[in-house]
Structures are given as structure tokens and as C-alpha cells.
Symmetry: C2
Subunit: 333 residues, 2 copies
């Protein structure tokens, strides 16, 4: 069973290769929200998302001989880039299986890192079969984006760094896709202080984890349509789900327009470029302020790989809406 020791070992491995990303606060925003908010800027991480932590930790703990033959993983983009970068570090081949509608910025990053890209149709449900077929053919080690203990332990270092820097945090908000970041953060938080609340945040349009937690078992939903391309999972990953069942205080869901609003807040108050998936936890903050325990809250901004066209559309939406004070107030409550 995954414990804080796995997270601490991952932190040791990552010390020299990953960024200890900044934990930012904004006096103006804190005043507006009535409490101290700390934002962990994982968009500043190597490859532009927290995913590098898990991918690197998984490769570092692979059997050397298995690793030498190469690795394969499926991903909406950020795990693929992270895997490509980790493989480059260990000088081993990487194959990544990605949806054919992946944002261009993510495709370019993977190509630049020299990994082989295999595309699939997001609606086909063929992803896992494709991964297994390719892995079998070339005897590649499969490194899933979430369903892997060392990937979860690597992701957990995000939460651990936040708590080391601001030990007074009373709650942590994390985006939920496959659930690996939430699970890793929950393990880290529990090791720090079991009374700390870790809250997962999902797009309402991709509420597989919220529904699965309610049902007490894995629930599969139709392929979600959400601007948060990194969180469009049909089903939670099994290993993190079992952890999240025990350790998450809550999962809240956010509508698409709250994601755009969160991107605008992060532009304005933190001067950070954040991709839609990366802004989902912040959207959750804006939507669930009164349900969080009092005291400082930490929010994981998980990535910043976004095409300009998508970014512009989201910010334009948000800024137009924010010009209406009634809407701005609505976003806050």
C-alpha cells in the first residue's frame, strides 16, 4: 500500500531533475476571497505540467533491463510529454498513444523530444487495447498516466512541497482526471496531518470520479466533452480510486464557464498562463469557498500547455462575463 515513504523517496529522486515550483499568493486576491490562498504553479514544472514528477519517478524505479527496451504510455498529452522527457533523460525509446485531437502545443513538445506518437480516436474506446498491443510487440514497459503506484507517489510530491513550504494549509484543492494527483496529494497530506482536507475538483462534464465515489464503485461515463482536455476521463483509474475513496474529503464539480473564469483569475492575479485542465482546481476554489474549512487553502495549478487560440477564446469568454458585476459575484459564490 502506498504511503508517505513512497512520496518522500520520490521527492529524493526528483530533487535534481524536477523544479520545486513556486507557491504563490496574491494580497489582492486574498482580500477578495477573505482567506489566504496559495497557488502551486506546476505550469512552471519541467514539460509544463506536474506529470513529469510521476513519469520520471516511474522510470527511475523500473528494472534497468526493462527500462532499456523502452516505455509506452497513453495520455491526453501532458503525461505523454513527461514520459518522452523522462525517457530522453534515461536515453531509452518512448512510444506515446494520444488522442487525435490533442492540442498542437502538446504534439509539438512530444515530437521535439523524439518520442514516437501513435494517435487514436477519443470516442473509439480502443486506447488501452492499442497500448497493450504495441507494448507486447516491442516488449515495452507500460507507464500509465495514473494507474501506477510510482506515478502516484511522484505526483504526491506536489502536495508534499506545498505543505513543507506552508505547513499551516488547512485544505488542498487538486484537479481530478485519472485521479493520480489527487491520490498522491492525499497520501502526502495524510502523512503531514490527517485532519487536513484534500478536495478533488472535476469538470461537471467529466464527473466520473464524483459519480464513482457516490456509487462506491468504478462508474464509466460516455467520452466526456470538456475544454479541460487533460481531465476528460470516462472512468477513474483503479489504484488511485481506491486511495481517493479512503482519503479524499470531497469531490466538487465545476461548469465549463467556471474553468474559463479561473484561467482569467490566474492571468490577472498570478500572471500565469494556465491550460483549462490546470485551472480546474482554482475553479473549484471559487465555487466552494464557503464549504472549505477556514484557514489557508492550497490550490494546485497543474499545467500550462495550451494553444493560443484556445487560451484566447477562454479568456475572452471570461473577461466579457466578468464585466457584469452580477456575474463576477456569481462566479465567486
Amino acid at each position: 500500500m502506498l504511503s508517505i515513504h513512497h512520496v518522500l523517496n520520490a521527492a529524493d529522486r526528483l530533487r535534481k531533475v524536477a523544479a520545486c515550483t513556486p507557491l504563490l499568493t496574491s494580497a489582492a486576491l486574498n482580500e477578495q476571497l477573505g482567506r489566504p490562498v496559495w497557488v502551486k504553479a506546476e505550469n512552471q514544472q519541467v514539460t509544463g505540467s506536474f506529470k513529469f514528477r510521476g513519469a520520471y519517478n516511474a522510470l527511475a524505479t523500473l528494472d534497468r533491463e526493462d527500462r532499456r527496451r523502452g516505455v509506452i504510455g497513453a495520455s491526453s498529452g501532458n503525461h505523454a510529454t513527461a514520459l518522452a522527457r523522462a525517457a530522453e533523460h534515461f536515453e531509452v525509446p518512448a512510444v506515446v498513444v494520444v488522442p487525435d485531437d490533442m492540442p498542437e502545443v502538446k504534439r509539438q513538445a512530444i515530437t521535439d523530444l523524439g518520442a514516437r506518437i501513435v494517435s487514436y480516436d477519443r470516442r473509439s474506446g480502443r486506447r488501452d487495447a492499442l497500448v497493450h498491443q504495441l507494448a507486447h510487440g516491442k516488449r515495452l514497459a507500460i507507464v500509465p498516466s495514473a494507474n501506477h503506484e510510482q506515478v502516484i507517489a511522484g505526483a504526491g510530491t506536489v502536495g508534499w512541497e506545498m505543505l513543507e513550504e506552508v505547513p499551516s494549509l488547512r485544505s488542498l484543492l487538486v484537479p481530478v482526471g485519472g485521479g493520480g494527483l489527487a491520490a498522491g496529494t492525499a497520501v502526502a497530506a495524510c502523512g503531514h496531518d490527517p485532519s487536513l482536507k484534500v478536495v478533488g475538483v472535476e469538470p461537471a462534464a467529466a464527473n466520473d470520479t464524483a459519480r464513482s465515489l457516490s456509487a462506491g464503485q468504478l462508474i464509466s461515463i460516455p467520452p466526456p466533452v470538456t475544454i479541460a482536455d487533460g481531465l476528460g476521463h470516462s472512468e477513474p483509474a483503479r489504484i488511485p480510486f481506491e486511495i481517493n475513496q479512503r482519503l479524499l474529503a470531497d469531490v466538487v464539480t465545476v461548469p465549463e464557464e467556471a474553468i474559463a473564469a479561473a484561467m482569467a483569475y490566474l492571468f490577472r492575479h498570478f500572471r500565469l498562463v494556465v491550460e483549462p485542465s490546470g485551472a480546474v482546481a482554482f475553479a473549484g476554489l471559487l465555487q466552494s469557498l464557503d464549504r472549505l474549512p477556514s484557514g489557508p487553502v492550497g490550490v494546485v495549478v497543474s499545467g500550462g500547455n495550451v494553444d493560443w487560440g484556445i487560451y484566447k477564446t477562454q479568456l475572452d469568454h471570461a473577461m466579457t462575463r466578468m464585466e457584469t458585476p452580477a456575474h463576477a459575484a456569481a462566479v465567486l459564490h
Copy 2:
């Protein structure tokens, strides 16, 4: 005469109140540019620009009785916000004299901090007279945005932090408005290693320092029109100019479209929201790569206070141009 000791004393004073901002690098960009580039993200500084360092250091070193009566400063916006924040810290009144076309995001920040705003017409040339008149009437201490030794020493801590973190830097690029950041950085660099090259970068449309350095004396130009609202000075400030005459290796100028391109690079490779003035040194990097000494180069990204409308226009310009490979190549050489 200003020395490294002033910078080190300023660094001591700032330790608990200012951010030690991240120094970022991008593997993809380094490969593209053929050398390691380190970006100092002062858009992540308190009040969103490096100006807080100088304003705080000036207030901290003021005679207590003088400070108690309050402070006044003129600024295009960022120094005004910084002064307002420093005054809030010391619980003293602040008056700021700003151009009437200041971006809304800067006006809002100053208002939120409780400082009094007095506007003037940028083309009137009345700014300094207005400051002196207001200062005299209320016996306020004048804290200029650049023409002040402790403001320069505070700004110099930017360069000092960069060299402490990456001592192998062989050149530093800094934006030049009044010249305080360039002067402070040059003093810090000289204290670290006198062979290090500090290069100032100005908008071609606001080349008062380049012209003054060529002429060997202060030259006044008509009120500049540039998207870099923080660097639109008609004349260098005297105290930093005398330092820059001795210590700057070079001043390069950049056209307006290179500023937009730099903002786009910083969006794409560093996921940072940077205001036009804050991107000018990076524009200088893209334009003068072959004139810089070989080895790692440091670039100061000085601020990130930009209205969404301006940001969008700049990025749209840049992205459209970058779609033409010929232009992308041109931007790089």
C-alpha cells in the same frame, strides 16, 4: 557612489517582504537558441513587477520622521503600485502621479492599496513640476522611480539573485526605462564579476538612453509612443545614467513587433503573462543573439501588469506573424 554593498544591504532588507522570484529555463528554447537562457520572472514579484524592490528599499532607508509624513512618486504605473504597497507596509500615506492613459490593471491595483492618484497628460511635460508642487504642499518625501540611489540598489537585487543562483551567467539583458534596473544590475554584476556583460534593451521608439549614451550626455526626445508603456521615457534619469555610462556593455533597441514576439515566446515556453515593457529584454535577446558573448545568458522579465485587451492584441499579432516561417526566422536573427 553606489556599490555592491548597497545592493547587499537592500537584499537583506527585502528578504522577508519581497519574493525571491523564480529563475526559469526551457530545454526546448535553449535548443532553438543554441545556448542556455535563464529568465528572471519578476512578473511574479510582489505588485507584479521588480519595482517593489526599489520602492521598499527607499522607504526602509528614509528617515523615520520624513517617512511618517508620507511619500510621493511619479510613474507609468508599476513604480506607483510598488510605492503604494511599500507605503501600506510602513503605514504611511502615499500619493502617486501617473499618466492619464495608464493601463486599467495598474490603476485598479493602486486604488486597492489606498494610495491617492493624481493624473497628468503624458504629452504635457508637467509631471515633475506637479510632483514637486504636491510634495512641497504636504511635506511629502519624493521617491523617484529611478533617480534615487536606494531605488537603484533595490533594483540591483534582481541581478544579484540571478548571479547567486546561476553564477556561470556570462551576460545579462535588462530593460531600460529611466535606467534604474540597468544601473542596479550593472553594479551587482560588477561586484560579482567585472567581465560580465550587462546589456540594456530599449524600444526603438523610446531610445533616449541609447542616444544619450552615444552622445555622452543626457538627450531628451519627444514623448515616445510605444506599446511598452513602462519604458516610454523622454530622457534617462541622471543618477542611473552616470552608472550606465560606466558599466553597461551595450544598449540595443528593438522594434515594436519584436516586443509582441517576445511576449509570445514567454507565453509559449515559460507560460508567463508578461506586459510589453517586461518582454523588452527578451526581445533584445532574440535580436542580438550573435552579438552576445557565448555562454549562459540571463534575461530580466520585469513585470506582468497588462490588460487583457492589450495582451490579446500583442499575442494575436505575434502568432499570426510566427505562422510564416520566414518571419519566425527573421525574429530570431
